[in-house]
Symmetry: C2
Subunit: 444 residues, 2 copies
């Protein structure tokens, strides 16, 4: 399927804050239109048509053939862009292939990838002669309702649309699936001197041909400075994965998301962050071994926070890779091992090499990879991820996932209680394994 | 889909060796017909019709409703079974539903489950008015060719069949997918006084309606004492999983398969074997700790051998479970940990608690779960298992998988070289991880 992105407008309200044309305004390391193209690509759409208007040259120069992003871009210029966005959408007419279904979206509307994915799934079921429109009925959550195009709905269909509608129960997200019917209608409305997209959609709505897909994920129309900032906030919030443990969710992400925001506009890659987080862990281990438990503990927690950043950057900038994930998992295990070995070494020296130190250290070391082993095996057996927040029940407060373990280590370092921290690590990790084995017995 | 199993004959040649009717003769812990039903169940077929003849009562009494096996059995009795197996197959006519596709098989032909699975996949594509017949064209591998029904083929179709055919290039495996055409033909041939299945199949072959599915997995017609023994051998051989490492393949399986053969007829469950293997490992750990490295080493290797038995029994007797696999994986990790901790404890005592002993032991301990971590993560990322024999290249000779690690431990025990064994364990496990990370970089 092809996607058509409208990038013809002037974007006057953001113009005051940025020299770039609106579709090229950066947001967390990617321009708005790049983010949309990469999101489409993640959903399997690589063939993109951009309709330019006001900033034809700038946009072509900036994006080129799309090769760098891994997509194919064709440009169409709409010299009449000033008349209204209906003329821009209608510019696609010259490229439209009979019976083709295509996605129509705005360069400056940013969607969570999952929203796009579900819309595309719904799009498979749309009938010829219908237009599918993404709409949001959770009005209390919609940002800047005043600026939205409102919809009065009739079940799953739109009855009437308009910016100044008084009686409405949903808003238009600016994401369409056209089966050709919109192009035909645009040709009529434009001839009659009605130049906006809403004019054509309204005509179709009157005929009962605008089917609505109600979204449940976030989307933002980036229109001004405030919505730009809001979009950053929701994008960052969406980066927290469901697999997160309790400490990570309540503490680490508060910091890691800020770091990610700072690093987003740099060229730092997720794998570089993985290595950096590992190096901090190695420094933590060395600090423990050299009898600076306070520094060791703080560095361990820093490493734990940084451990979230690689994944956040990867998701934020569409840089996820299977190798990256494997590399991160294994380096995390080594980081854990090194820190615990540093702690053991310190304890060992302090107690003149007792057998207790050896055995407790060994038990703590052995416990470190168990959570990952369990989760990976579980996923392979069931095809579903093991999510501590859901599957562990009350056990999720046991600090035995990585976030919890490194938190124990930090406390052990700050309070200079290495033996107790190691004993606690051993206890929580082995207990967690035991409980999990018991818990899944009945439903595996 | 339903399956019809012919179990009507007298089985005179095996009668001399067993008091039971042939379909009920045990083979590695399951009767022949039970094995076939459980194999069908594993392929998704739970609705089974058994045609009895000579031993109607015995078979009904032994198998009952099938509930215990997790299948539904309907019995049909063929009083004319002595006339020929065509009359038994035709007994199904009274139950046959219009346009139904069903599997027809013999109670005493044993198939590898994968053969059945592929046959069923091919069966989806068979046309109405055709009969699909499993046949084997690898004649040099066929057991007791003399006894087989031969086929002269014409591409993917049978031309003529017969036990005494001179010119042939495949044999009949006794596994059919009938679309109804066989039942109609049997009614004709039986009326004409031709009572065997081959008579009807031959008539269809003449009309070009017998499509052949060529098998590549093993199957055995269990007809006499020799073929019974042969079937045991190939069944046991099929239990070695593709994930096996070098030491396991060349040494451990030689012993474990014999143990499995001995235990097959007992009620011992795979999970019980998992626990038993773990207890032997715990004994090995205790022996090392109590300064009996020779015993410790031998018990470690015994535990390694026993570690194969749980999976073999599970596959052999259709007792696989996801929980069993998870339980085994985690208990194996604990077994490894305990043994290495026992060795460390011994070394630690012998060297008056040196730091070297602490660090080398920690490195060895940390290396133990890495192979599993890598393989599970790889499988989750790619959807495919990581098979050391295939993916590791020359690295597969590095004894860093569990079979190799326990072999190193055995050698360390026998030669009383615990420090060297621990150092070697640490070296091979971490090297393997490093090499694997490097190797998958390009194709992940």
């Amino acid at each position: 399927m092809r996607a058509v992105i409208l990038a013809a407008g002037e974007g006057s309200r953001l113009r005051a804050y940025s020299k770039r044309p609106k579709p090229l305004i950066p947001l967390l390391g990617l321009s708005l239109i790049e983010r949309n193209m990469l999101a489409l690509k993640e959903c399997g759409i690589n063939d993109i048509v951009i309709i330019t208007g006001c900033y034809d040259n700038e946009i072509r120069e900036y994006l080129g053939s799309g090769q760098q992003l891994g997509v194919k871009i064709n440009y169409l210029h709409n010299p009449q862009w000033k008349l209204g966005n209906g003329t821009s959408a209608y510019t696609f007419q010259q490229e439209y292939r009979e019976n083709e279904k295509y996605i129509l979206m705005m360069a400056d509307h940013i969607f969570e990838v999952e929203l796009l994915r579900r819309f595309l799934k719904e799009a498979e079921k749309v009938k010829q002669n219908e237009l599918l429109l993404a709409s949001d009925s959770q009005l209390e959550k919609v940002y800047d309702l005043d600026e939205c195009t409102k919809i009065k709905t009739d079940g799953n269909h739109a009855k009437i649309l308009g910016k100044n509608l008084k009686d409405f129960n949903a808003v238009d997200c600016g994401l369409f699936l056209d089966t050709g019917v919109l192009q035909r209608t645009l040709s009529k409305t434009i001839e009659q001197g009605a130049y906006t997209l809403t004019d054509a959609v309204n005509l179709l709505a009157e005929e009962g041909k605008v089917k609505l897909h109600f979204v449940s994920h976030y989307w933002v129309d980036v229109d001004d400075k405030a919505s730009h900032k809001y979009c950053e906030t929701v994008l960052l919030r969406s980066l927290v994965p469901p697999k997160d443990g309790f400490i990570s969710r309540t503490i680490n992400r508060k910091f890691s998301l800020r770091i990610t925001k700072l690093l987003a506009s740099t060229k730092i890659t997720p794998n570089q962050m993985t290595v950096f987080s590992f190096l901090i862990a190695a420094l933590s281990a060395a600090s423990f071994a050299m009898l600076s438990p306070l520094v060791g503990g703080l560095l361990a927690q820093l490493s734990s926070i940084l451990d979230g950043v690689d994944g956040e950057i990867a998701r934020l900038k569409f840089l996820k890779s299977r190798y990256g994930e494997l590399f991160d998992s294994l380096l995390d295990r080594y980081a854990d091992y090194l820190i615990v070995m540093g702690m053991s070494y310190a304890w060992f020296g302090a107690t003149e090499h007792t057998t207790t130190a050896l055995l407790v250290s060994a038990a703590a070391l052995a416990g470190l990879p168990l959570s990952m082993l369990f989760k990976e095996k579980y996923r392979n057996l069931t095809g579903k991820p093991y999510l501590p927040e859901i599957h562990d029940g009350r056990l999720r407060y046991l600090p035995a996932n990585r976030d919890g373990r490194l938190f124990i280590i930090m406390l052990g370092g700050i309070l200079n209680q290495i033996p107790a921290a190691l004993a606690l690590l051993a206890a929580v990790t082995h207990l967690q394994t035991l409980f999990r084995l018991k818990a899944v017995r009945n439903f595996l």
